[in-house]
């Protein structure tokens, strides 16, 4: 078999990069037909590498470039991107911006049209592609009306249609719900099994990397490890050190047994076999303790802050997004709102600060009906951090950004200073006051966005997808920050797709599906109902599935270790 990708001494430095190189001395060969997953923390150079593969670097993105990239023998430096596109298809993380046609069929036809395929051939390919990406019956839909998972599948389909021999996807599942993620990986697996397609996926979901033939770990512009996924993923220490989420099952077994790393089980099913063969047991007494701690926490909640009664919302275009929701949020709670893309969860939380008003039913915040109040008033009590920090950052300095909210509310200069200091301290960004917020990393910008909400000292903080686009280490930092805010007395309402985040941090869970709350209760009770969750396109983390198989519901590796007897 020939080489699909051959990279020699590749080094690249962006034009405006301050120090070091984005990638340095990369040497990499990928055989035809291989399925490769590339992982690594933010700033490791994964996307830079992907953009080198089809020549976007150096043709489109400028900088210092040395070394060479051969794709099916073609040097990317010598051909324009549009020519390389016939050999290698690139799917981007931001699926909203890469779909631009009026309907699904035309979106898929765009690539083949450019490559001058006959109309009949294009017609045939549209049919094939729609089948592969499971979008049959959606031919005439406008892409913006599709759900997140469908959009990303369409983005993949639009690249597949030109039948490139290599496909590279740059974090294709970041914004997707768990089942949407699985859908993408199922497609990837099928494509791979079908034939000679070479597949390169950049990903940070460890659980999905198991499907690959080969796993490459990158760090600081270098290739750190390259080999068999099972072998690398069981190296719990390495994962922990460089900040990739370790698989929970091998992590657990590495703590409770003296198994060699190659003997560690990877999946919940394999874990169960191992658990029994090692004669481990669940400590019932400890489990009862954990349950009692939950109950204790629930007893300490304060007054009701937000009350939602029979809430319905119909948008001006006639679409009913909420169909009768009832919820009560008390002071000190940490509530996670789950649901697949398009289930209505964002519509729901936008009612909590008055951005949207009920078309039927009632939302009472701090004792006042939101219909009789204003966003400005409710804003003192409820802060709302939007999903994308770039949708709210505008100031020249971090200080000005965070001071915006107290300033607009007319506080004195000293009061503003005090609040900014307090907010930046809470998000661990002291000393950044004079920095330009746009020059910070995504994780830091996310923190500034939270700080700029905190400076209004709201009792309730709503966070829409606070961990999206962050790597594992940054996700951990963000969640630890939110946990501390919660412990200081802030009530947290969080929308998220990241299931391990919910399982380890949230006290309560509300699952929204098709405009209704279908599951609502403590995280432990909800995560016990794995099958019902699956029906709403949600999947519990490995450790929870594993404990459920043992008849108990444990939410983190630490809890699982605490409840293990017979070590």
């Amino acid at each position: 078999m020939g080489k699909a990708v051959s990279i020699e001494n590749l080094t690249f430095r962006y034009k405006d990069q301050k120090n070091g190189n984005a990638i340095e001395n990369i040497n990499l060969d990928i055989d035809e037909g291989q399925f490769v997953v590339i992982m690594g923390p933010s700033g490791a150079g994964k996307s830079t590498l992907a953009n080198c593969l089809n020549g976007l670097i150096p043709h489109f993105i400028r900088g210092e470039y040395s070394g060479q990239v051969l794709i099916n023998g073609m040097n990317t430096k010598e051909y324009p991107v549009s020519k390389m596109a016939k050999e290698i298809g690139l799917v981007f993380q931001d699926f909203e911006s890469q779909l631009f046609s009026t309907n699904t069929k035309l979106e898929i036809a765009f690539g083949p049209e450019n490559f001058k395929f006959e109309r009949a051939e294009i017609e045939k390919r549209i049919k094939e592609v729609l089948k592969t990406v499971q979008l049959e019956g959606f031919e005439d839909r406008q892409p913006p009306t599709l759900s997140g998972g469908q959009k990303q599948r369409l983005a993949i389909g639009s690249v597949l249609a030109s039948k490139p021999k290599i496909i590279c996807m740059d974090e294709p599942t970041t914004d997707l719900d768990p089942i949407g993620k699985m859908g993408i990986f199922t497609i990837a697996k099928e494509l791979h099994q079908e034939g000679s397609l070479t597949l390169i996926i950049i990903e940070h979901e460890t659980e999905e990397a198991l499907y690959a033939d080969r796993l490459i770990i990158m760090e600081e512009g270098h290739i750190l490890r390259d080999g068999d996924p099972e072998e690398i993923l069981t190296d719990v220490e390495l994962m922990d050190r460089i900040g990739i989420m370790p698989l929970q099952i091998p992590k657990y077994f590495s703590k409770v047994s003296s198994l060699e790393s190659h003997e560690l089980p990877l999946t919940p099913e394999k874990g169960l076999e191992k658990f029994n063969s090692l004669k481990l047991e669940i400590d019932d007494k400890e489990y009862i303790n954990i349950i009692n701690e939950d109950l204790e926490r629930e007893k300490n909640y304060g007054d009701v802050l937000i009350e939602v009664k029979g809430l319905e919302h119909t948008y001006p275009n006639g679409k009913t997004a909420l169909k009768g929701v009832n919820l009560t949020i008390r002071e000190g709670e940490f509530l996670a709102i789950l649901g697949h893309n398009g289930s209505g969860k964002t519509t729901l939380v936008k009612h909590f600060n008055g951005l949207l008003l009920p078309t039927k039913g009632q939302v009472i915040v701090g004792g006042k009906d939101t219909k009789e109040s204003s966003i400005f008033e409710i804003g003192k009590l409820v802060g709302y951090a939007f999903q994308n920090p770039d949708h709210q950052i505008f100031a020249d300095t971090v200080y000005e950004e965070v001071a915006f909210s107290p300033k607009i509310r007319g506080y004195s200069e000293t009061e503003i200073e005090e609040r900014v200091r307090e907010a930046l301290k809470a998000v661990d960004m002291e000393g950044f006051e004079k920095e330009d917020p746009f020059s910070l990393t995504k994780g830091q910008r996310q923190r500034i966005a939270v700080a700029s909400i905190l400076s209004a000292r709201p009792k309730v903080i709503i966070l829409d997808e606070p961990t999206t686009g962050l790597d594992f280490k940054e996700q951990r930092q963000m969640m630890e920050l939110i946990r501390q805010l919660n412990e200081k007395g802030h009530t947290i309402v969080m929308i998220t797709h990241t299931m391990w985040v919910v399982s380890e941090y949230a006290h309560k869970v509300a699952v929204v599906n098709d405009g209704k709350v279908v599951l609502y209760g403590s995280t432990r009770d909800v995560f016990k109902k794995e099958e019902e969750l699956l029906k709403t396109y949600l999947k519990t983390p490995h450790i929870v599935s594993f404990s459920n198989k043992l008849g108990k519901t444990l939410l983190s590796v630490d809890e699982m270790i605490r409840c293990t007897k017979g070590v």
């Binding site: 489109f60 549009s82 298809g89 690139l90 690539g111 049209e113 109309r119 802060g383 915006f404 209004a456």
Partner: protein
């Protein structure tokens, strides 16, 4: 928030060739610009509205109703004061001024509505393919259709950003004129940043899908110039010719 102006329906209007619809739009522009007579412009407005109604796309006018209303109002206010005339009503306001204001308001609104009907009943691909068939180079046609696509995208982004800033306490409804303008800074900067970022991804995605692979390309979409297109085209041409003739001979 709907991203596109295009309303996907299967009507007589939607089935017309984009070139025909383009001709109707330009025809309406020409006629509207030629005349300053209220009855003629009213007649033109009725024809255009009926034309739009045949494609069931007039619901899109709701989205621009504020703009249409403001143009009408501003025109009436300005011209009724400044136009002058015989029949004085109150101060500088004259009857002729009011009528002229209404006429000019209708003139501009008819053009906007006509443009809106075109965009609501023609797909972006249809527009660019129509232009290509009219010998506009593909890159140019694509750039034009992309510009149309960009407008609703910017609107959707600024809508999200407005919500984010209002959640932080931004109050756009109070303060003096200058104060209010200053308040738009937190909206404009993030909108620019977001639009620039997504257009950047958009152009990378285009290249990655082979845009510009060759000077030639094939088109999956097919345009068919049917007899009904000829009929509409001839009617439009006749109306334009009659209008020009009328303008010259009767000095309307």
């Amino acid at each position: 928030m709907d991203m596109f102006l295009y309303i996907d329906k299967d009507t007589f209007l939607h089935r017309l060739d984009p070139r025909t619809k383009l001709a109707v739009m330009f025809g309406s522009f020409v006629i509207a610009l030629l005349f300053e007579s209220l009855p003629i412009l009213l007649a033109l407005a009725v024809i255009i509205l009926l034309y739009g109604h045949s494609g069931k796309v007039l619901s899109n006018l709701k989205r621009i109703r504020v703009i249409l209303f403001m143009i009408g109002l501003m025109s009436i206010v300005i011209w009724s004061i400044t136009r002058g005339g015989e029949t004085k009503l109150l101060g500088p306001i004259t009857l002729e001024g009011i009528i002229y204001g209404i006429t000019v308001g209708i003139k501009f609104n008819v053009m906007i509505i006509s443009g809106m009907i075109f965009l609501s009943s023609t797909t972006i691909e249809g527009i660019s393919l129509g232009l290509v068939k009219l010998k506009v180079p593909y890159r140019g046609a694509f750039a034009f259709s992309t510009a149309i696509r960009l407008v609703p995208m910017i609107v959707a982004t600024s809508y999200t950003i407005t919500q984010a800033q209002r959640s932080r306490g931004l109050d756009l409804d109070s303060g003096s004129f200058i104060q209010r303008i200053k308040k738009y800074v937190p909206l404009i900067i993030p909108t620019f940043v977001s639009v620039i970022r997504s257009t950047n991804v958009f152009s990378m995605a285009l290249e990655s899908k082979g845009f510009g692979y060759d000077k030639e390309r094939t088109y999956y979409m097919e345009l068919s110039f049917r007899s009904v297109d000829y009929v509409i085209l001839i009617i439009t041409l006749l109306l334009i010719l009659v209008s020009i003739y009328a303008k010259i001979t009767f000095k309307l």
